[in-house]
Subunit: 185 residues, 6 copies
Amino acid sequence: MSLLDLFIEAGNLKRLPRTGWLLAGVPNPESVAEHGYRVALITLFLADELGENGIDVDVGRAVKIALLHDLAEARITDVPLTAQRYLNKAEAERKAAMELFAGTSKPGEYFQLWREYEDGLSREGKLVRFADKLEMLVQALEYEKAGFRNLDDFWGTLEELRESEFYGYFRDLVEELAALRGGRR
Amino acid sequence: MSLLDLFIEAGNLKRLPRTGWLLAGVPNPESVAEHGYRVALITLFLADELGENGIDVDVGRAVKIALLHDLAEARITDVPLTAQRYLNKAEAERKAAMELFAGTSKPGEYFQLWREYEDGLSREGKLVRFADKLEMLVQALEYEKAGFRNLDDFWGTLEELRESEFYGYFRDLVEELAALRGGRR
Amino acid sequence: MSLLDLFIEAGNLKRLPRTGWLLAGVPNPESVAEHGYRVALITLFLADELGENGIDVDVGRAVKIALLHDLAEARITDVPLTAQRYLNKAEAERKAAMELFAGTSKPGEYFQLWREYEDGLSREGKLVRFADKLEMLVQALEYEKAGFRNLDDFWGTLEELRESEFYGYFRDLVEELAALRGGRR
Amino acid sequence: MSLLDLFIEAGNLKRLPRTGWLLAGVPNPESVAEHGYRVALITLFLADELGENGIDVDVGRAVKIALLHDLAEARITDVPLTAQRYLNKAEAERKAAMELFAGTSKPGEYFQLWREYEDGLSREGKLVRFADKLEMLVQALEYEKAGFRNLDDFWGTLEELRESEFYGYFRDLVEELAALRGGRR
Amino acid sequence: MSLLDLFIEAGNLKRLPRTGWLLAGVPNPESVAEHGYRVALITLFLADELGENGIDVDVGRAVKIALLHDLAEARITDVPLTAQRYLNKAEAERKAAMELFAGTSKPGEYFQLWREYEDGLSREGKLVRFADKLEMLVQALEYEKAGFRNLDDFWGTLEELRESEFYGYFRDLVEELAALRGGRR
Amino acid sequence: MSLLDLFIEAGNLKRLPRTGWLLAGVPNPESVAEHGYRVALITLFLADELGENGIDVDVGRAVKIALLHDLAEARITDVPLTAQRYLNKAEAERKAAMELFAGTSKPGEYFQLWREYEDGLSREGKLVRFADKLEMLVQALEYEKAGFRNLDDFWGTLEELRESEFYGYFRDLVEELAALRGGRR
């Protein structure tokens, strides 16, 4: 598999809908790639903010993790919660990620970055998990603002943000989000 | 789970795209429910045709199998070929089907019908498999007629139709389809 | 007209939107085929349920009626209420159905099944009418759950379900649906 | 019916797809309103061009006819060719147009303008018919340029343009269109 | 540039979304051409209504202005409010309009009509401005009726209608619209 | 403007279509965010590949540039080529970028990164320009593979890749892409 093959396969992420929104009834919801773009962007700004607060974070590393993490979905698709009781999504993504990285110049490093997210092995990996959840809630807020309902289940994730080790640094941001949602209900 | 819950959950099939077309680049491709409708319709006409030819087929039973078979995708989604190397789709659908039927008045019978397709246990089950493949090729023809390309891989299924035990009865239909495609290439 | 021609023409049902939702402002609403799939599925479960209650229903026959009924819309389209004051939809569908069935092995039988729905000639035909209305309301509930409004007019159909001869058997289901809607308003 | 009611009802034309393209497999084809906009625009330029050639045409009148003509489809929808064998579309649109104009300040004049198109009663009415067909072919060209196929049937209309009384004035335009299409095939 | 080139370029207006709705989260919102169609239609009815009230308005001229005005967006696109602080949209549209009209038989007249809207130079130009705003609010009402939210900012335009010189003639219409919206909030 | 405001505004990039494809007739083309995701991904892999070849590239910096560059389009939209003759897109994006970064902890650094792309000030900035063009051509290939036509103009960019300072390192990749396209024509 050449790099071009990998880039072409990554194009699947533009076509694949995020199934959580799809099943909740949002017509033509965002794609995995659209989610991935903002997760990486949020990761960049949050990582720099942590650095300003004296926390040692490798910003470039964090952003790479953000970009690589959803790549396996190009083969596996965005398996929704309703399916995860029946399918071993994590194991499937792990194998697919390993094979996708095989044709690159640094398969070991990319897979290591991938695992830092999946297994929460590093501060950078954990930060991307935080950004991934935050992104989903910002999107939920936007959909609700536009008139969509049926998204209450998504907001359970707010508690996960509050219990995160990064909450102390982003309390204002998280609570501003919660307030915007509260004012909307 | 009440019957109403089951009907609501079946609504997912209207929202879930058939991922084979999606990954091939067809914008807004058919849903699983749209495919399921025509599979059932084709099954009905083919079963009656077999009956006219003196073959013993339970038409009603065949149509029920057609309707029930894709139901598990309401939870599992239409897992594409690219994912099936990594995920045990068959096992997942089996479990999901069993649970979906649990709230009905005849869980055993529905699951038996479901297995007749999945495991090719009966003539009716095999006929639905034939109809399922035929439906996919008719759709491929329609997409190609409309201008879409990149669907060559789907046409390998034509050989499977030709090797089916039902081919003798539907040779004209299958070869008319092949000819229409051939004229288009 | 060959069977293949019929299957290709049935493909129109995947492309044709249900115009009631379209005119109410639902973007990219369900297709006629998507509606037809769930009507057939609901018919199957309700017919079996009636059988369990000692009512004599030919389940296979009911399901066939469900599949055949909307077929004429492949030519006529889903003529909305706003047009029915000006057009004789029933007559048009009758003629189109007759012509569509002409190329099959059992034109008389299929047209008879079609009429059982249209004219409410049999218990099975009436059951499909019940399932057709129920399906529409389940879909209305889903759209409202997703945030769409402007669907009040559809809910008048609830009274028709309550006045049906089948209401006694499906009272719980119908009232559960009504309650879900009520809780949503 | 107030003017506001009329404007709201005209909004249906934005939601209603042109069914000819839809049935030919174009995903999300143009709406009736989109067609109507360009028909009116083409009418304006052609009418002025005729005037430059010394032909007596009431440009404003022609444009009004163009805008009013498709209005009845807000109730009737764009009934496709496949349905016109079974439905009296012309009669339905006539009645609907009459009722739609009833709440305006000049129902008689608007209906007269509507009839000038429908029945080809005036030069302006005939010019809008010419513009209507030309618009459809320009759209067909654009869809084919984008990759869509299956539109051969639409091009029969080219002969109708060539047989029109206006052909002499717009020969270059029509033949340029034909040449662009020819170069594409 | 031939007339055919102009008609083809006008086809862009069918593909270009009205960005105000897009950014507010309406999925697949109306196109510029859909908006343009109803603006022209509204202009026609309002101009005739003014005439009935003894106001001297050239109805045909008003309708032509309505059709020509958005044409420049075929090149410039519908530049949204968020961009207008950074881009000189008016100047760009002026130049593009001039170039688009260059290949027609009456470039001067068309540009003059275009300026009557843009610069509010004539009663007809001002009436189209009124119709343009009214059309947007009718669309906002329809989107809100369908369930979309986040459109409050659009309704500031209601005050502009009330301050218009035409308000006296269309008070009932405007206030009926305001009341429908009020009842919805 | 808080970070949350910035994240919400970045959501516009999911809604905004890439107008080049839109005007070429691709229905529902990719969004700016979808493009941005793959540009960043390609940048990551190419930068690492350069590093393997002994070229000194700051991979993290390159990826940050990729993510930040299109951000200004959240306000300006993807102004197409047809509009760039009339509008000063570069100047508008520069101002908007500056204002967007104003509420962050490092406005100067982000704007510097943004300029490195815009003005080609650094190797990393130039690499992102290369990745941006490559991504567009991979997308063009995918659309053509799916059946879309009318994209010839996009392929002029192939020459720009061949004239780039990075071509020597990615010759195989670029020529593989050219060959895939050639085989398709």
